[in-house]
């Protein structure tokens, strides 16, 4: 079974509102630039897996017209209705069959066209959840309240995540929010849905990402520094919030364990060099530390207090600024993967983590209350 690697990537800018670009133009420029960067012609692309959502685009069968824009004319193609990281997982397994040399992965999401509240409330079943007005922020707030209560985590610990990620975002030319914020400012910002404050909420983002995944020999023809996909674990747990313990995420634990088993990792904090997680909200990054096995349950705050996960720390997490700096629906998880690629290939420029980097973890999630999680292990 040949190794599978990322031979190239391209990311549009992430903006709060891309008003003078329509969906197909955003997709075309993002994919066309990738082909120019990698010197690969559209004729050489063997297969395409795209990721998008009808509800974000406001168009049913959203890939139908989008396919013309991503070069899928007369191609073997399929579409995943999850974050782009799930499309990379599916493409990874397709390539393991040995039937194709490469697969182009394209994820797009103009979240500003409809806004995340409707997208999230429409995920709620009409009988027990939708009438309550549950959506992204209020569902995260319910999880935060349970997490703080169970493990005695303080709102200040959570606020530190915002300070860390916004400082990283200031250095990252590829992200959207590029300004720092102080701990006091975060703690003073008003509650949107207690205990989540205004500055602890991810921005609305429009953007697209394209990745060229390939078998080892094709990848080496395209680049001399492919980033290997060593393992992918993913999992979905229970739907209704009242049917599960919100202070941790069983599906995140199982996804991480599955990925570590494939790669032979025992202690992720020691055997990984860096992680990019889809933290969504401040507290969720701490909860993800615990459920990705970086530390014990309830001890996530210590990793932020002692600076382990800082930019210069022993185990940097979200040196890109994470989703607190850019959060395009259906794209944010794949963006974490290419942020890992930038770091591993030492092409992150001003934002480059200095320590040795051989193996990184990228995390994506889908659904409310971290119901579904996906962990990708990358190495150089």
């Amino acid at each position: 079974m040949s190794r599978i690697g990322i031979a190239g990537w391209n990311q549009s800018s992430f903006q709060e509102r891309m008003e003078d670009v329509n969906r197909n133009e955003l997709i075309f420029t993002t994919v066309y630039e990738l082909l120019e960067k990698t010197g690969v012609d559209i004729e050489d692309i063997d297969s395409i897996v795209s990721a998008s959502c009808d509800t974000v685009d406001g168009i049913s069968i959203s890939s139908a017209y989008a396919d013309d824009a991503m070069g899928a004319f007369m191609k073997e193609e399929s579409k995943v209705e999850e974050d782009g990281a799930y499309a990379l997982m599916y493409a990874y397994h397709r390539l393991l069959m040995g039937q194709w040399r490469n697969c182009l992965i394209v994820a797009h999401g103009k979240s500003s066209d409809a806004g995340p509240a409707f997208y999230a409330n429409m995920m709620c079943d009409p009988f027990l959840l939708r009438p309550l007005g549950l959506e992204t922020i209020s569902s995260a707030a319910l999880q935060a309240a349970a997490y703080y209560h169970r493990y005695g985590v303080s709102e200040e610990d959570a606020a530190r995540v915002v300070v860390k990620n916004r400082a990283a975002g200031k250095r990252n030319p590829h992200t959207q929010v590029r300004s720092e914020v102080s701990l006091e400012e975060v703690l003073r910002s008003p509650y949107l849905a207690s205990p989540i404050k205004q500055l602890e909420v991810p921005p609305v983002s429009d953007g697209a990402v394209a990745v060229l995944l390939a078998t080892e020999d094709y990848a080496r023809q395209v680049t001399d520094s492919p980033v290997w996909v060593d393992g992918v674990g993913f999992c979905q747990d229970v739907y209704y919030p009242g049917h599960k313990e919100l202070s941790h995420s069983v599906s995140c634990q199982k996804a991480a364990r599955d990925a570590y088993r494939q790669v032979g990792i025992g202690d992720p904090l020691k055997e990984l060099d860096l992680a990019e997680v889809s933290e969504g909200f401040s507290f969720q990054e701490l909860l993800l530390y615990e459920n990705l096995g970086f530390c014990d349950q309830g001890k996530g705050a210590r990793l932020i207090q002692d600076g382990t996960t800082d930019f210069e720390g022993a185990f940097p997490v979200n040196p890109s600024g994470g989703t607190l700096c850019a959060n395009a629906t259906m794209v944010a998880g794949l963006a974490r993967i290419i942020e890992c690629c930038r770091q591993l290939t030492r092409s992150a420029g001003e934002n480059q983590v200095q320590k040795d980097l051989n193996r990184a973890l990228a995390h994506a999630s889908s659904g409310l209350f971290l119901q579904s999680n996906l962990v990708t292990i990358l190495s150089i």
């Binding site: 009808d54 509800t55 168009i59 049913s60 017209y65 995943v80 069959m97 429409m122 999992c235 979905q236």
Partner: protein, 387 residues
């Protein structure tokens, strides 16, 4: 090289208005029937590929989140595929690829829709059009296919009579299929011809019903197959292509995307002459004229000979290449499950489990689904014998 994979269990719900079942409950029925058919239980499943077509058909975003546990995916890997009308086949193809990759041994694919959750499926369908380029000017699915049918008929000198022949063949076949929705005993060309002309050249008889349904297929890796079943449906290979929508020089009567898929599938399966080697075919006949066009795309005959092939009777149950013994989409269309029904029916034929609609001695079969703006084509080839 890719691992060999077989279908080891199939679960279908009836195509009708399931007025007494919620969306998760209907999905659960499909999954539990497949588990029962294979003798497996939820703990045996390594992953689930969940198909569901447009969110706005039932007004539920990411329905795989609400319905995941109802298909046995509790704390298991699950991801959703969505390619419009072909989603049922794309989900099955996704499950096949996940097992063939070598990383998952038993994967359940499931797909469906409850089109009766809206007061009119057409409202949901109108959201298929780009809001700026077409939604206020919606062609409507039937009229888009009518443009395809008219182009095809006039280019090759056929008429809507040929479409009616398909409609009658499939409605009579459907009498042998307990899961079909339309049951029209004694259906004749006159009866079909007398139905109103809805979108020239397509009459009501040439069009499919709308129904609620879920279809489920369980795929297993070669070293697990013997322990699960003694008449598996071996997958030779599977292909899904996109032809494109608005591309330069498109001829709406000539499905080059389907021909691309067929060429790749036959080449990978070592099939030289599909007309002779295939024993039975299930195509996505949402509208009668399309079955004639798909004959040509699938190389059951040359370009322009679809109508003549129908006239020859070759595709009847008594012919040498029966098409749609199940009655096809013309007899049952839930959109989300319709394409997987085609693959499931093709698999049942080589598994010898097609009961009254069984084609005697079928060893090699093909299932086809289309979706989107008549642009996605999905194929899966099945064999009784291990490849």
């Amino acid at each position: 090289m890719a691992r060999k994979v077989a279908v080891v269990g199939i679960g279908m719900t009836e195509n009708k208005s399931h007025w007494d079942m919620s969306i998760p409950a209907l999905y659960r029925m499909g999954a539990s029937r497949a588990l029962e058919d294979s003798g497996l239980n939820v703990d045996d499943l390594d992953a689930v590929v969940f198909g569901h077509s447009p969110e706005y058909f039932e007004g539920i975003n990411h329905p795989e989140k609400w319905c995941g546990e109802a298909v046995g995916a509790y704390n298991k890997p699950l991801f959703r595929i969505h390619t419009g009308g072909s989603v049922g086949a794309s989900a099955a193809i996704g499950a096949y690829y996940m097992v063939a990759s070598g990383k998952y041994d038993v994967v359940l694919a499931i797909s469906g829709n409850k089109l009766n959750e809206t007061s009119s499926a057409q409202i949901g369908l109108s959201t298929v059009y780009d809001p700026i380029m077409g939604r206020q000017f919606a062609a409507g699915a039937p009229s888009a296919v009518a443009l395809q049918a008219n182009r095809y008929y006039s280019t090759h000198g056929y008429s809507d009579e040929h479409g009616l022949m398909v409609a009658v063949k499939n409605r009579l076949n459907a009498l042998n299929n307990p899961y079909a929705q339309l049951k029209l005993p004694g259906y004749t060309l006159e009866m079909a011809r007398n139905t109103p002309m809805l979108c020239y050249p397509l009459r009501m008889a040439d069009m499919c019903p709308t129904s609620d349904a879920v279809c489920c297929m369980i795929f297993a890796a070669e070293d697990r197959v013997e322990s699960i079943t003694d008449n598996p449906g071996w997958v030779l290979n599977a292909v899904s292509t996109n032809e494109g929508v608005d591309y330069v020089d498109r001829d709406w009567g000539k499905p080059i995307g389907l021909r691309l898929a067929a060429d790749k599938a036959y080449e990978r399966a070592g099939i030289k002459d599909p007309r002779q080697e295939l024993d039975v075919v299930e195509v996505y006949d949402a509208f009668s004229a399309q079955e004639l066009i798909w004959y040509e795309g699938l190389k059951l005959c040359d370009w322009g000979e679809g109508g003549s092939l129908m006239e020859s009777g070759a595709t009847e149950m008594t012919g040498d290449i029966p098409v749609n013994p199940s009655g096809g989409v013309l007899s049952a269309n839930s959109i989300g499950a319709a394409a997987m029904f085609r693959l499931a029916e093709a698999a049942l034929q080589v598994m010898g489990k097609a009961d009254q609609r069984q084609v005697e001695g079928a060893r090699l079969s093909l299932g086809h689904g289309w979706g989107g703006a008549i642009q996605f084509h999905t194929l899966m080839l099945f064999s009784k014998d291990k490849p």
